[in-house]
């Protein structure tokens, strides 16, 4: 069984991001970039399935600039077997990404696609769902546990009310949530080995996908600063404020 794991190169989660002066987006110049944390969880899950003998090969794919090759190498250093880079300098939007991934899936024929529920740069949370619809495959989103059975997967999902366990027929698309696993560190020998693992390069046109944006960014702005709090003298005053000012009682 082959596993396909799409990964995205994003601003590192430790970076304090700044909005560009003209409000057109976030400042990306000289900012540390790394693998989307949800995608690290996806890679980890795929590797664990392989180590448990449930899968035979883990293929990682990224859609983005040439530099995304570094991010793919990180996944290879964690233990993925090979990588595909679909190189583009265009802005990547969920629909175009899902269409390219559909093309990759048709070429690779994986039994399971494990994808982060969202990327921490645009927080779209759409690609996995769109991909499943385009492929006509089952989807199990926000996974906190994945178990592979005969021709199906049992996935525990994090939903508002708690946990929901569903059974999906394979092939399927699973999107990963934060509590699925804790990603491993790439070991030094594996970082060395990753340099020699195969990495195929493609372009969006190889899959006949038009990257032109469907979304228009109107404005990007910093969240407004938090106002200073006030001190109250008594419980009575607090209750009064909660009732009459905050309107929560």
């Amino acid at each position: 069984m082959k596993l396909l794991v799409p990964i995205k190169r994003v601003v590192d989660y430790n970076v304090k991001i700044r909005v560009k002066a003209d409000g057109s987006g976030v400042e990306l110049a000289n900012v540390k970039m790394s693998m989307n944390p949800f995608d690290e969880i996806s890679v980890e899950e795929a590797l664990r399935l392989k180590e448990a003998g449930k899968a035979s090969e883990v293929v990682v794919v990224s859609i983005g600039p040439a530099k995304a090759e570094e991010t793919l190498r990180t996944a290879l250093a964690m233990g993925a077997d090979r990588a595909v880079l679909v190189e583009t300098d265009d802005a990547v939007e969920p629909l175009a990404v899902a269409k390219i991934l559909k093309g990759v899936a048709e070429a690779e024929q994986p039994s399971l696609i494990i994808v982060g529920k969202q990327a921490i740069d645009d927080d779209s949370n759409q690609t996995g769902q769109m991909l499943s619809a385009l492929l006509g495959w089952a989807q199990a989103t926000f996974a906190s546990k994945v178990e592979i059975g005969e021709g199906s997967a049992q996935v525990t999902r994090e939903v508002d009310g708690g946990l929901q366990t569903i059974d999906v027929k394979l092939p399927a698309v699973v999107t990963t949530d934060l509590r699925l696993n804790e990603p491993r560190y790439a070991s030094l020998p594996n970082i060395m080995k990753a340099k020699k693992k195969p990495l195929d390069k493609k372009t969006p046109s190889d899959f006949g996908v038009d990257m032109s944006p469907r979304l228009k960014v109107l404005k990007t702005e910093e969240p407004s600063g938090r106002k200073a709090g006030v001190k109250v003298k008594s419980v009575a005053e607090l209750v009064d404020k909660l009732k009459n000012e905050a309107g929560v009682l």
Partner: protein, 380 residues
Amino acid sequence: MYLTETQEQVRDMARAFADEMIRPLAEELDREESFPAALYDEMAKLGLFGIGVPEALGGPGFDTLTYALVMEELSRGYASVADQCGLVELISTLLVRHGTERQQALLPDILGMRAKVAYCITEPEAGTDVSGIRTTAVRDGDGWRLDGGKIWIHNAPVADYGFVLARTDKEAGNRGMSIFIVDLHAAGVERGPKEHKMGQRASQVGALNFADVRLSADALLGTEGRGFHMMMSVLDKGRVGIASLAVGIGQAGLEAALDYAGTRKQFGKAISDFQGVQWLLADMAKDIEAARLLVHSAASKIDSGADATKACSIAKCFAGDMAVQRTADAVQVFGGSGYIRGFEVERLYRDAKITQIYEGTNQIQRMIIARELLKKGARA
């Protein structure tokens, strides 16, 4: 930046590991003076020991610059942990360069931390001047008999194998010393009590005594009489390691000081708003960066095969002095809190001091630098 993508990848991994797995343990390890066996097992699994050992011998086969990057990051987490990495690096470098196939068979256990090693040079009468050693190995049948004693030996209380420098020819000076691989569980080996140190307190240090210890013929590492030269041949790399370790301590101090200066309020504003504190921070940053660049330059020299002796001594000397001075500044930024046990900078200041002493005192480093400068035809 002049680092390769792979070097950055290794550094980032070591940095994340140090932040998440090492730094949170440092305070307790320092307080308890305990040997972090579980942490070392974890590091061994990640290939963080024996970084320069070639792939054919079971290591990852990285260059000296990568080793320096890892040492800085581990030390930023906790210097004692980096020093263990440095110790394994030196021993494995000796084995790779001079070991027989049978001796090199020890490497997987050493890199896997299943066998702990000690590098046994120093004696009461032989510190900086190694030629004063009195430990002797005398031929006995086809093997050897080892007698003498070592002090201040890192890992002595826990080690399985000692790499022991002993005199094999009393008349031959520096050409009369040899290195032996000694099973420290053998009869005649006695371990002294653990020393209680000022800093780097998770490093287990103590004495070893050898009374009529029988060694087989293949305990001899490399050629008889070449022990001093073998030891010297790994000194450059050792100095790069300790210099990196000193940079890591300084960097941890800067990070702690920046964090504190931004939150500590006096006279109604953060103390980082005062120029007096800003200058402390700026001086810390510039010296740390200078030391780091000296280290990287020395490491690159080793990797290129050039004569790196002067560069390594400059890096070690500068980085050690920097670490002591700039962690003192970090304590200063913290004020009274920085003098209290449990605050990271208090430990960092203590951890820094030994970097001016071990792997050749900084006075010796200055002598080496001067000697290299005054060589005929040398370029200043």
